[in-house]
């Protein structure tokens, strides 16, 4: 915890003010779109099947209290720095750690539905050769859960019915 706060303090000043870091600690999705860079995901999320049931942090931040703030600190720092320095890869994609957080959050809400599908061997990520834990993450199939079709710059145009 102390460490977390320490990190946060370190993040303060220019970078974080620029990123409107304060509102960043709310779970309000608007906090995320303080950065226009998050806009496509925000817009896409609003049209996704989860719009009514899950907000950004429900999927992208772990839900154990301490870890939550640690990750926010880490992400916040990463985000803030990245954003000010502008030196990040686009299109933005979820990194390995982000994928693990996602997987856990899918299970947090859907566990009862899917526990029957998961077995011990899923837990040993050393057997995973896919970016997803266990080689069969939810988003192997449900990559549209949060943002519909892939959310980047450019994306398949929706066919009118």
């Amino acid at each position: 915890m102390a460490l977390a706060l320490g990190t946060l303090a370190g993040v303060g000043g220019y970078t974080f003010r620029y990123a409107e870091g304060l509102s960043y600690f709310k779970t309000d999705p608007k906090a995320c779109v303080n950065c226009h860079i998050m806009q496509p995901e925000y817009d896409a999320w609003q049209k996704s099947s989860h719009h009514g049931v899950a907000v950004c942090v429900d999927c992208h931040l772990p839900h154990d209290f301490v870890a939550k703030y640690l990750v926010k600190a880490e992400n916040g720092w990463r985000h803030g720095k990245m954003f000010t320095t502008q030196n990040f890869e686009e299109p933005i994609t979820v990194k390995q750690h982000g994928l693990e957080v996602l997987q856990e959050n899918c299970l947090r809400c859907h566990g009862p539905l899917t526990d029957g599908l998961l077995r011990r061997d899923d837990l040993d990520s050393s057997r995973s050769v896919h970016p997803e834990p266990g080689g069969l993450a939810c988003i192997h199939c449900h990559f549209t859960a949060g943002h519909g079709v892939r959310a980047g710059l450019g994306g398949p145009q929706k066919r009118s019915p």
Partner: protein, 452 residues
């Protein structure tokens, strides 16, 4: 730190009402623990039919493919497939359809049962506990002898739970010796395997232990490997054990090169049969779904057989894998639409376009191969010598193997659309070149007498 550890404790283990073990080949027993998978498994007895999938013909017996495409029968003359070769159907029928085929009017080997019955316990007994040893003894047995043993030991079931699942953990596993030997040879080769990352990792590692899918392959790959135990090209006769030709790679050129380099134990060069009309030494192809899938974009993208053929299905409060293994086109919303967010009609149309292109080209190839066969017959009639015919016969072998690799593949090329079309293009070229080679002869002067 592994964020799944907490999850693991929360997870409720399966409540087992009965214990199941390695010798429990009867799915009904497993079904008491996992009723919904069992229920869907049983539905493979239902009749299904799509434009190119499932089967036409009567409820009692699928349609003859060799009647629907007479050029197939012509290609197979001299081999049992020219007697009886029908549409495939659901897993429930695999043993009875094998026992019932007219191909058995010719002597067949015990190897056949590798893919048509839940045979592991039989291998184990024959090998005195050693499955591999038992398996290697079966090619010398007659089909009837081993089939009787399978019945006597009470394992006369089609592919069953124990063939794909570990009875303790229910984890997927590969049990079939043919696959274990074949995939190991593939791993030890230097062939490209873009879709099989676990093999690339094994190659990069110490290689102390041979590649073993049950240890090295992740779940994502096991979801295809369990199918690759049977849906593959093979040699299955009495001269050597059942063989999957993967030692040089999984593409058709690599498989052909493997067969061309194979010699029988007696030292004679490998071939499946001699064509009745031309005498060409032919390679017979069988259902290379696994090999074909490997050439396609889905495999590269990590999409497994089970993703499409066993999609999840909601069952009350839980999700289960649909064990009614069948054409995904009967099931587009679950088999395709989770990943492809577009109308069902559009998805069906995409498949239709792909299959029609391959079907057109396949029929074009059928015409070419028949023209070649007739050209060779004509050349023989005009007295061409075996030496003179050799090039034409070699071309018949190459052309026929490629046509057959597509004709016997069961997705009409959907599993790898472009590769399938390419292979057909090559087949046509070889068939026509063979015709030209034979035609030279038809009008050739007598070969000059050997100089004294």
């Amino acid at each position: 730190t592994n964020i799944f550890e907490r999850k693991a404790e929360q997870r409720v283990p399966f409540v087992r009402v009965v214990e199941v073990g390695e010798n429990d080949t009867d799915p009904a027993k497993w079904g008491r623990n996992w009723p919904s998978q069992y229920d869907s498994y049983k539905r493979t007895a239902q009749r299904t039919s799509t434009k190119y999938g499932g089967h036409l013909g009567s409820e009692a017996l699928p349609q003859e493919r060799i009647d629907r495409d007479p050029w197939l029968k012509r290609m197979f003359l001299g081999y049992a497939f020219s007697i009886d070769f029908r549409d495939r159907r659901g897993h429930a029928y695999m043993l009875q359809d094998q026992e019932g085929t007219q191909r058995l009017t010719k002597p067949q080997t015990g190897s056949c049962l590798h893919c048509h019955a839940s045979i592991l316990p039989v291998y184990r007994e024959l090998g005195g506990g050693d499955v591999m040893k038992g398996f290697e003894s079966t090619y010398k047995m007659s089909y009837q002898e081993l089939d009787k043993k399978v019945h006597d030991m009470g394992h006369a079931h089609p592919v069953s739970c124990v063939d794909c699942h570990s009875p303790e953990t229910m984890a997927l596993r590969v049990t079939r010796p043919g696959f274990l030997v074949g995939i190991r040879a593939l791993a030890e080769s230097d062939a490209d395997v873009p879709a099989l990352e676990s093999i690339r990792l094994w190659r990069a590692g110490s290689r102390e232990q041979p590649y073993d899918p049950n240890r090295d392959a992740p779940r994502g790959e096991m979801r295809s490997f369990v199918c690759g135990q049977c849906h593959v090209e093979y040699y299955c006769s009495s001269k050597m054990p059942l063989t999957f030709p993967w030692g040089k790679g999984l593409s058709i050129d690599q498989i052909e090169a493997y067969w061309d380099a194979t010699v029988f134990p007696d030292g004679s060069p490998f071939y499946d049969y001699e064509h009745q009309e031309t005498g060409a030494k032919i390679l017979k192809a069988q259902h290379p779904e696994f090999e074909t899938w490997n050439q396609g974009i889905h495999a590269r993208a990590g999409v497994s057989c089970a993703d499409c053929h066993m999609p999840y299905q909601r069952e009350g409060a839980t999700k289960v894998s649909d064990h009614w293994v069948r054409s995904p086109l009967l099931n587009v919303n679950r088999a395709c639409q989770t990943c492809h967010r577009t109308d069902e009609s559009e998805i069906l149309a995409r498949v239709d376009v792909i299959q029609e292109r391959n079907h057109d080209l396949l029929q074009r190839g059928g015409t070419a191969i028949v023209d070649l066969i007739q050209e060779i017959i004509r050349a023989k009639a005009t007295g061409a010598s075996p030496e003179q015919l050799a090039p034409a016969l070699a071309l018949q072998r190459r052309a026929q193997f490629r046509l057959d690799m597509v004709a016997s593949e069961n997705s009409m090329g959907f599993h790898a659309p472009q590769e399938t079309a390419k292979v057909l293009g090559e087949a046509i070229d070889y068939a026509r070149q063979g015709q030209l080679a034979a035609r030279v002869l038809a009008s050739a002067p007598e070969p000059a007498p050997p100089s004294p």
